[in-house]
Symmetry: C2
Subunit: 251 residues, 2 copies
């Protein structure tokens, strides 16, 4: 069905701490609900947005993308500044662009870039409690980087897919899977053509077990090639996860 | 009056976003109130703490220090871990130490180290909204660093003292006043033997005017040597300010 009006692409940043994830839920506040309600007021008509990624509760975004159709005559470039005073301070629309009618935030996406932040310190840090996963014990960076290097390329990621995933085909391509360190802060980055449900958080949970020495590199390989989620590590908390960017270029 | 029991020094970190500053107030929630109430439960007696610095609403701390007297037999080293599950997640006691009877968090302090963070970007950043002061326009780092260098040493800081200050003598010594840059994040650091009411925030507000080209270096010098607060820049917001450390060594 062809929609009428303009097809808009909005880039959205948010602090996920106060929300039950991106996607609308009946009895909990989500980023999508706040966006749709606020856009509805600005654009003067009911708005439904399609999000590129369904980020979970507590997960943050610097570059979530949503698309929406509107008949409003509000100029596209006025939308981000107008929303600034209308949205709560933990959500911001940083860019708006009119797209051709084929564009869809989720279906047109060709890749995503996530980061995951670890605070590797025994000292409690109230300022970063919502923005990382704190690991008190020392981590073996070299072992973790080696484990991550095995994930790059096209693989069956069944071992890192949580129950509840709707994906029928768990084969994905990771272009990048790295971990860097700056002081007591570790940052993982994952760039791939698509991600299964909880895939980044399950990878991080399992790689951290490697860093802690609980899982050997051989066992990591066995878990990965065994494609069995029950053998992998725990799901890392949502607080450390950031959706940095969604790509629409053809790879 | 000599107090009975142990004289404890606690080092406290907090995210100031949800509090009306450190010091107790009749009708607003403060860090001191939460600390005293929680310590009262743990130690089994009413507790009054003395804080090294009266941080304002929204101001953060990695190294606030409080002292308190208690007759409790809870071992000193058990206090930080015990408080972990009792305090809200935005306040943490990171260290506890028994001191001799002369120690007082405020009166024994010989210096403090503050940092002030600026986000120098036009792009809204919901994730850092409570943790910095956002300046959209470009800043002249060299001019700001020159202005800061004039402040180092023993000076009359009347130009940077807000009304409401209780200090009779506005002469203070700054050992360090710097500004560094990493990407779009600027960090000021101020180490001094003492700070007047709003002194760091008033310095930052005025130095930012220098960085924006609104105030020349000559005018900055005139403002500083003129000792007249009305000539200086606006008070920078509390959200960007961090109490990093309180010193007790003799200089």
């Amino acid at each position: 069905m062809r929609k009428s009006g303009k097809n808009l692409k909005l880039t959205v940043a948010y602090d996920g701490s106060a929300y039950h994830g991106f996607q609308r839920q009946a009895n909990a506040l989500t980023v999508q609900q706040v966006l749709e309600e606020t856009l509805g007021v600005l654009l003067g008509e009911p708005i439904v947005v399609a999000g590129a990624a369904r980020t979970d509760a507590g997960v943050h975004a610097y570059g979530q993308v949503v698309s929406l159709w509107t008949n409003s005559r509000v100029p596209t470039d006025r939308i981000p500044p107008a929303l600034r005073s209308m949205l709560p301070r933990d959500i911001a629309v940083v860019e708006a662009e009119a797209m051709d009618e084929s564009f869809h935030a989720r279906f047109s996406a060709t890749g995503k870039l996530y980061s995951y932040r670890i605070l590797n310190s025994a000292r409690p840090d109230p300022l970063r409690r919502n923005y990382c996963w704190q690991i008190a014990k020392p981590l073996n960076m070299t072992a973790m980087q080696t484990a991550l290097s095995h994930l790059v390329g096209e693989h069956h990621f069944g071992a890192f897919q949580s129950a509840g995933s709707s994906a029928k085909n768990p084969v994905r391509t990771l272009y990048k899977a790295t971990c860097g360190q700056q002081g007591d802060l570790l940052e993982f980055q994952f760039h791939g053509n698509g991600f299964l449900y909880h895939m980044v958080r399950n990878i991080v949970g399992t790689v951290i077990d490697v860093g802690l020495g609980k899982t050997s590199l051989d066992d990591f390989q066995t878990i990965f090639s065994g494609r069995d989620r029950r053998k992998a590590g725990a799901t890392a908390p949502g607080t450390g996860l950031y959706l940095l960017r969604v790509f629409y270029e053809k790879p």
